[in-house]
Amino acid sequence: MIPAAVVGVGQTHHKTRRRDVSFGGLVREAVFRALDDAQMTMADIDAVVLGKAPDLFEGVMKPELYLSDALGAVGKPMFRVHTAGSVGGTTGIVAASHVQGGKHKTVLAVAFEKQSEGNAQFALGSGKGASLGAGGSFAPFIRSYIHRSGAPEHIGWKVAVKDRQNALKNPYAHLKIEDISIEKVKSSPMMWEPIRFLESCPSSDGACAVVITDEEGARGRTPAWILGASSRSEPPAFPGRDPVRPLACLTCATDVYQQAGITRPREQIDMAELYVPFSWHEPMWLEAHFLAEEGDGWKLTDAGDTEIGGSMPINCSGGVLSSNPIGASGLLRFAEAALQVRGAAGEHQVDGCRTALGMAYGANSQYFSMWVVADSLQPFG
């Protein structure tokens, strides 16, 4: 396989509403930042991959065709990826695979959502009444996690505070809650018991783009080498399915670590961006990604290990809890992992970060996408 690296990362300032820009204007903000970061222009791009949540979110059918000229993709291969909430991650993986397979030299991955133009709960309910929304789907899974791990209720509050404090260090993050505190989170309204309002992600307009190229393209640029990239899925419902430790998640993590040569994830991964739309997903995913022993994920959170400066920093960007342009959210995780190993994460940089995990999941906790990036092709010697 041809080595591939992220050499450019761009994103928008994520907001509740970006009424000042069209769909094209929104994605182009992220694209030009990524191209500038890569010191490239649209002419250097050989193919474009676009990801976003299902078309029902904004009511634009085939947005990849509608946006092809905005993305400078006229006369170039253009691909669309559909894997629900994990789509941004899968978009990065598909773009990487075109380089790794030798089909294209330099590929642009773009993902976006303009949630303000539609209604997510309507879309998640397939346009019917009595939609559960994302919180309604995941609350039972979280209840099951809390029950079996015995985690105290303040764990969810701690994650909510930590990610919002990280967001204060990220100029692009949507939620900027200066006075965030445990007190404020625990007194916020109960939305889908046990999930409180401030333990939930916002609804955002935003986009993210990354430029992926081969070894020659990476020369003279700052690469985040893609050591492993994997996606897995499982059916949404079958007797005995465990949404707390989905098999698709466990096998995806196992695969991506094997590709990357990771045998001791807790020690070899310097930081991870995990898709945490509701605070309790942090401890749950720590365990399902082998970053903590089963039942111990919440102890890392409780001890402060998942803070910037802790032993296993999680979601230094502020995570999905601070910015959630759904289709872009997965690529934002992957992009933050790349920024970290490139030493380009600014105020939310983890000192000495050499290897990072980016992860996204979607639908009924059934689609998983992950990549491991590092500052060299052989970070473990």
Partner: protein, 328 residues
């Protein structure tokens, strides 16, 4: 013979127009048509970027038309309600005077014989203009713009948003297993399918086992008990989106059927206030009164057929620490 059901989804989306299309729409309310300069060319309708290279364009908007020349056209002999005119008309590429690219719009001509490449057309404006491409009701043969009825003047504010009412009608095939489940429920029978591959029991009318793709039919039917235990639950605060049917917080529960490994997902509860919904509550199936039945097959969870939900049956709650993990 596969049976189909038809359903229609409608939603009022919005569109943020951005600086260039917004200016174009605002000008339409003033009965002016704008293009944008791209080197030697003038693109109309205007775009924010060069359509062939993606390069950003300077915001150099210029007025074009109002009259123009038909580049090519096609006749629409039987308009539907989605078409801009209710009588036969032509769709045409109209190259407005001063523009390098054609605008697609309707031409109100009496017959295809009245249409030709190179013919001259001018806009017929609506009297009430809101900042939408249909502010031009259509084009008409000739050089002179027209206005339909009273001219109510331009928009008071610059146009930045557009409403877009999306509507789509689907025809979905109904798996035979869905009909079997719904028919049984009409007789107040709860049936499921036992997969010969994995041995698991599925409730609701999904067509296939998701694990090994066995297609379910009558030979896989099993009778299931009408009592069970709530294993997990959620209370939803409804967002009032268009088409929402709920106004108050409502519960959905997971029910593990007695003597079975089958869990029914996302079930409604009846005569169980949301504050009393809890793990371990014993419940019994509730069947629809005549006229209340639905045709839903329950393939993705939820109530189906004549099963409308579950109510407490008065039995003492079950205290089993593993119940909460039985979501599926």
């Amino acid at each position: 013979m596969v049976r189909f059901t038809e359903s229609t989804i409608t939603f009022p989306y919005t569109r943020s127009l951005g600086p260039v299309v917004g200016a174009f729409m605002t000008a339409l309310t003033e009965k002016r048509i704008l293009g944008i300069r791209n080197g030697e060319q003038v693109i109309c309708p205007p775009m924010e970027w060069d359509p062939s290279t993606g390069a950003e364009l300077p915001r150099d908007l210029v007025e074009v038309g109002p009259a123009g020349t038909v580049d090519s056209w096609t006749w629409v002999p039987e308009p539907t309600e989605q078409h801009p005119l209710d009588r036969p008309f032509a769709f045409a590429f109209v190259r407005l005077d001063g523009a390098s690219t054609p605008l697609l719009h309707a031409v109100d001509a009496s017959s295809p014989d009245a249409m030709s490449d190179g013919m001259r057309v001018a806009p017929r404006w609506k009297g009430q203009r809101i900042g939408h491409l249909t502010d031009i009701a259509c084009f008409v043969p000739g050089e002179e713009p027209q206005v339909d009825g009273d001219d109510l003047g331009p928009a008071a504010e610059p146009v930045q948003m557009m409403d877009y009412l999306a509507r789509i009608t689907y025809r979905n095939p109904v798996p035979p297993s869905s009909d079997l489940v719904v028919d049984a429920s009409r007789q107040h029978r709860l049936v499921g399918f036992r997969c010969p591959g994995c041995g698991k029991t599925y409730v609701g009318g999904r067509g296939v086992c998701p694990i090994d793709s066995v297609e379910f039919g009558e030979e896989h039917l099993v009778e299931l008990p009408h009592t069970g235990t709530i294993t997990n639950h959620v209370v939803i605060t409804p967002v009032q989106y268009p088409g929402q049917t709920e106004t108050e917080p409502f519960a959905r529960v997971f029910v593990l059927l007695d003597g079975s490994d089958a869990v029914l997902g996302y079930q409604p509860v009846i005569e169980l206030p949301v504050e009393d919904v809890a793990v371990g509550v014993r419940v019994s199936a509730v069947w629809a009164s005549p006229g209340e039945e639905s045709d839903e097959g329950g393939g993705m969870g939820g109530a189906f057929g004549s099963l409308i939900g579950w109510m407490p049956n008065g039995e003492p709650p079950v205290d089993d620490p593993d119940l909460v993990n039985r979501i599926f």
